[in-house]
């Protein structure tokens, strides 16, 4: 018996392909908790905390305070979405699915790439949902700010996709988001996303600038405010992304060596 090796070949890009992303996306949207937490909750928070009439009349940059809060909430939504996208690996490892995937041509690096793309897709949807709700509910921003604040909130949320992956590999839990949800809320407070930092005392406000949410918020709001130290914010995002990505790689290497 001859084995027709010639007819067998490895897939391109280590198995990374749109078909898998489409199926994974469909599965994520089937999970009601994901939908509520990442798409609906940030918009609801915005409606609750950002739409009082005094906020709508107070001007900031070329927009109103409601618009300012909308950007913060969009950042929050993008953070939640990308973190939970990255943290999917935890559930899948717990279920033994990663082991099953090792019986396919899918390379571990391609698997991580799929998770990152998924995280960024739902992050984009989360920002879009928040912005549509905001536009309807009275947020005012200059046209350029609508575009750039949205894009920056989304792109900078990559730091949390790395964070989600890192935690997903670190915490072998079925419901890792129940731990990470509160963590993200605390980080959002500490990073000045829910309450402006100048309302904190001086030492705390300084410490806050070193927490991971601070940079993302500052950068995302910059097209509106043109205020604050942009380079410090960029440095914050770069350092935290590098740190989380390094952590994710470290755990990922251990994981693939072991299984």
């Amino acid at each position: 018996m001859t084995v027709a090796l010639e007819s067998r070949s490895l897939p391109k890009f280590g198995g990374f392909n749109p078909g898998m992303i489409a199926l994974e996306l469909r599965r994520m949207l089937r999970n009601r908790r994901t939908v509520v937490f990442t798409f609906i909750m940030p918009a609801v928070f915005f409606l609750l905390f950002g739409t009082s009439s005094s906020y709508k009349t107070e001007r900031i940059g070329g927009g109103n305070l409601t618009g300012y809060i909308l950007i913060s909430m969009a950042v929050y939504g993008a953070m939640l979405a990308t973190t939970s996208g990255g943290a999917m690996v935890s559930v899948e490892r717990a279920a033994g699915w990663s082991r099953q995937l090792r019986l396919t041509p899918l390379r571990p690096a391609a698997y991580v790439a799929v998770k990152l793309v998924l995280a960024m897709i739902i992050g984009a949807v989360s920002v879009a949902v928040a912005f549509v709700v905001g536009a309807v509910a009275g947020a005012e921003l200059p046209a350029t700010a609508w575009v750039f604040c949205g894009l920056l909130a989304w792109v900078c949320a990559l730091v949390f996709a790395a964070f989600g992956l890192f935690m997903g590999y670190l915490l072998p839990s079925e419901n890792v988001m129940q731990i990470l949800g509160p963590v993200l809320a605390v980080l959002s407070f500490a990073g000045g996303l829910f309450v402006p930092l100048d309302q904190f005392g001086e030492p705390f406000a300084t410490i806050a600038k070193f927490t991971p949410v601070y940079g993302v918020g500052e950068i995302a709001r910059y097209p509106l405010t043109h205020d604050g130290n942009l380079w410090l914010a960029v440095l914050n995002v770069v350092v935290w992304t590098a740190l989380f990505a390094w952590g994710a790689m470290w755990r990922f290497r251990r994981d693939t060596a072991r299984v």
Partner: protein, 303 residues
């Protein structure tokens, strides 16, 4: 690849394979050659090293010593090329995918067309539950789903690790009918099991594993021969295995102190010889079945 080497390529080639976990040696020097088309049972008690051996064939574990090749390839490459696939014991499924989506994902990863999905689902007998969420499927259905996924790359070698653990009788029957239908197409199949009847009913060749070593390896017929026959036990001080080798009807002789065990198909002939030609006394005749053979080959030494 030339035709000659293609013809000589073994489905599985394990040579001097050792795998240790800390102080525990799970696989202790296994050498095994499996030809294409064979249906082989890896039979042994829990902890014998079956699953570790299977993991090494699939590239999920690396051997500490020795060589593992599947169709002439490193296991990892053989898996990626779809030459070998497996139905694993547990885990490995996501509850919030449907049966059809799970198979489709596998098809996407192996670069198989959409038509292959329906075919695999049909062959695994899952057409009725294709739209059901995996979390709502029974254990037997989930196992057949793993089987459908394993069929997708159309592997040359299919490995089943304790495939029917936790299934009820009906589920086990359905699962094996699906496997049997498939094996008729000439696929090489290796299955690890501790169910003797499964090894007996479905394997051409049975490899007994104990404590990480192969203790017996033979065709199904040889296993049956091993399992059939009776044992005549007698007290015979000063006996040696050589002196008893010529006992008519004896296949195997064993001496433990003053006690001799003579195994053979014709126990009457053996008993007659022992009583008339030797000083043997306290005769006891017991029949052996597959269970005894299994226990004898796999149990720990008493001392």
């Amino acid at each position: 690849m030339t035709l000659t080497t293609a013809l000589e390529t073994a489905a599985v080639d394990l040579s001097g394979v050792v795998k240790r976990y800390g102080a525990v040696t799970a696989v202790d020097g296994i050498t095994l050659n499996i030809r294409p088309g064979e249906v082989v049972a890896l039979l042994g008690p829990n902890g014998a090293g079956k699953t570790t051996t299977v993991d090494m064939l699939l590239g999920l574990q690396k051997p500490d010593e020795g060589r593992v090749e599947v169709y002439g390839q490193a296991p990892h490459d053989a898996v990626a090329l779809g030459l070998v696939s497996a139905v694993m014991q547990t885990g490995g499924l996501l509850k919030d995918y449907t049966v059809e989506e799970t198979v489709r994902l596998t098809a996407v990863l192996f670069g198989k067309p959409r038509s292959a999905v329906g075919e695999a689902i049909d062959r695994a007998g899952l057409a009725d539950v294709a739209g059901r969420l995996v979390g709502k499927c029974s254990g037997g259905q989930q196992q057949r789903l793993r089987f459908a996924m394993a069929l997708l790359p159309d592997p040359e070698l299919l490995i089943l690790d304790e495939p029917t653990t936790g299934m009820d009788v009906a589920g086990r029957h359905e699962f094996w009918s699906a496997i049997r239908d498939d094996a008729r197409r000439g696929r090489t199949v290796i299955f690890a099991t501790h169910y003797l009847e499964e090894a007996d009913a479905y394997a051409d060749r049975v490899v007994f594993v104990r404590r990480g070593r192969i203790v017996a390896d033979g065709t199904s017929a040889e296993v049956k021969a091993l399992a059939s026959g009776r044992t005549v036990r007698a007290t015979l001080p000063g006996a040696s295995e050589t002196s008893l080798r010529d006992v008519p009807g004896a296949d195997r002789v064993e001496v433990r102190g003053d006690t001799v065990f003579v195994h053979g198909n014709d126990s009457d002939e053996i008993a007659r010889y022992l009583l008339t030609r030797t000083a043997a006394r306290d005769l006891e005749i017991t029949s052996r079945n597959l269970e005894d053979a299994f226990l004898a080959l796999t149990a720990d030494e008493e001392n």
